[in-house]
Amino acid sequence: MKTLVSLALLTAFAAAGCATPRGAPGALADIRPGQRPALDSDEAGLWMQMDRVEGNLKTSGQLITDPALRTYLRGIVCKLASEHCVDIRLYIVQTPHFNASMAPNGMMQVWTGLILRADNEAQLAYVLGHELGHYQRRHSVQLWRDARTKTNVATVFAVVAAAAGQGYVGSLAQLVALGSVMAFSRDNEREADEIGFELMARAGYDPREAPKIWESLDKERKAGKDSEPSIFFATHPPTDERIETLKESARKAYTPDRAWTDGRQAYLAATRPLRATLLQDELRRRDFARMQVLLDHLMAAEPESGQLQFFQGELYRLRNADGDPGRAVESYEMALMIGGAPPETNRALGLLLMRLGEKPRARAAFERYLTDAPEAEDKAMIRSYLEQLR
């Protein structure tokens, strides 16, 4: 049990911990811009551990280092909390899970599963604002102090140090388990929701977007009920009450006379170059029910997307349930008809048709693939298929 509690601490630190209601007993003063803990304080010990985790993260191969995307995301953070901008270091982690976190030392992580799922800048701003709320209120420090009264300090440090050694992203399953142990109280999450909402609305983002991202996530969570749990859901359950509270706040805050923005165009411009990679990562989770909900959501906003139709075909081809090969062929052909599909659409179509014994159509698809991607990394193999299909 002690180990479990210690591990739970790790998650809470790394994922920017739970929250304490504003003004509640034991609540800390908000962090001030540029503030660092006294060197002889317990808070400094916590920062030191997080500095080690951050040191590993800096050299992780999972980081996305694209300067344009980093600048764009950092711009959102600074728009939300300009006073803390200089103290926050943002890292984009390529992993197909919805998550964002904010450590007490100013290390902010944005996972690409979140970037893929946010419809626009306003939704992302709300989630980042929520995490900034944890940071501003020093919730993880509060958790650290609460937890130390419940477990052995040496054990806690050992676990945190071990985590620093293996890197933060580490074992997702472990983090999920820990998040469940330290599930936030509704009051705690409500406070972070309030701060996130205030920050986004103050920055001019359409407040009606805030509840929408929780609604989308809730649909995905329900569809994927038999699949792996989410670290973010474990610590941030998208409850009906929470969604309704945000909707009510949005109704009160939204006034038609103000020039609100959802920032969708800027968001698409910044994130679209990455979308095919992120959808591929998502596909590799083999969580087809959840991915179908995600694809339905994306296609509702963009029904004429060859790229999305291609991934719909990929989902069918790889799921390979009864009737799926036929559905996959239809999706690939639809993607090619719409336009904007990647060259790999013809390759996937060719592979499937070859498996189904439709040689002339398979051959035509492979030839189109090599025409569209003459320098493809698998061109030699595709040429060998063409020989076989003669």
Binding site: G61, G170, F288, M381
Partner: protein
């Protein structure tokens, strides 16, 4: 496969990404039979462990570099036995080389690899059978960048695969030529 054996195999496979394990044996620099189906001729000594259908060799440690031999996967089996193997791709004996590589990528994903890219996929004889070769790059679950190369083929309805991988910095290159010689030496029994 028993639950205990499944766990054992998962541990062995995970060792390729995470390092560490036990029950090593010495592979001497002389011809050696793999899976009772083919021989290879290592030119240097390796440390090996075997679990189920996988035989894993390393020089510097599994976290740094390894060469792994899959000894005959049957139709309907996943590449790796892991907690989530129910939802993973299963081997089909009619898979094309492209689909076999897709199976490999799926298997690596199931044991924590991310950002996997495949390059230079090409036809290649695996012993006496038609097969494939390709190069790989991926990142382990703890952020270590690795490179790899694979060779494989379906023989009598069963999948045989050799995968060499190592840390992008230093270790992959250190034993790449040794691994290449092993792949080139594959000879069906």
């Amino acid at each position: 496969m028993t639950g205990r054996r499944r766990v054992g195999l998962a541990v062995a496979v995970l060792a390729t990404l995470l390092g560490g394990c036990a029950r090593y044996s010495l592979v001497e620099p002389k011809p050696r039979t793999i899976a009772d189906r083919y021989t290879v001729d290592p030119q240097i000594s390796w440390s090996a462990l075997t679990d189920g259908k996988w035989e894993l060799w390393t020089v510097d440690g599994f976290g740094l570099e390894s060469i792994q031999f899959l000894g005959g996967l049957n139709d309907g089996e996943p590449l790796f036995r892991t907690a989530d193997d129910q939802k993973r791709l299963k081997f089909r004996k009619d898979m094309s080389a492209s689909e076999l590589v897709e199976l490999l990528v799926d298997g690596l994903t199931s044991i924590g690899a991310q950002k996997i890219t495949v390059t230079n996929l090409r036809p290649h004889r695996f012993g006496s059978a038609d097969g494939f070769r390709c190069e790989l790059a991926f990142v382990t679950r703890n952020g270590l960048e690795k490179r790899g190369m694979a060779a494989g083929g379906t023989i009598d309805g069963r999948l045989y695969l050799v995968l060499y991988s190592g840390a992008r910095l230093h270790y992959y290159e250190t034993h790449r030529d040794d691994a290449e010689r092993i792949i080139q030496s594959i000879h069906m029994k």
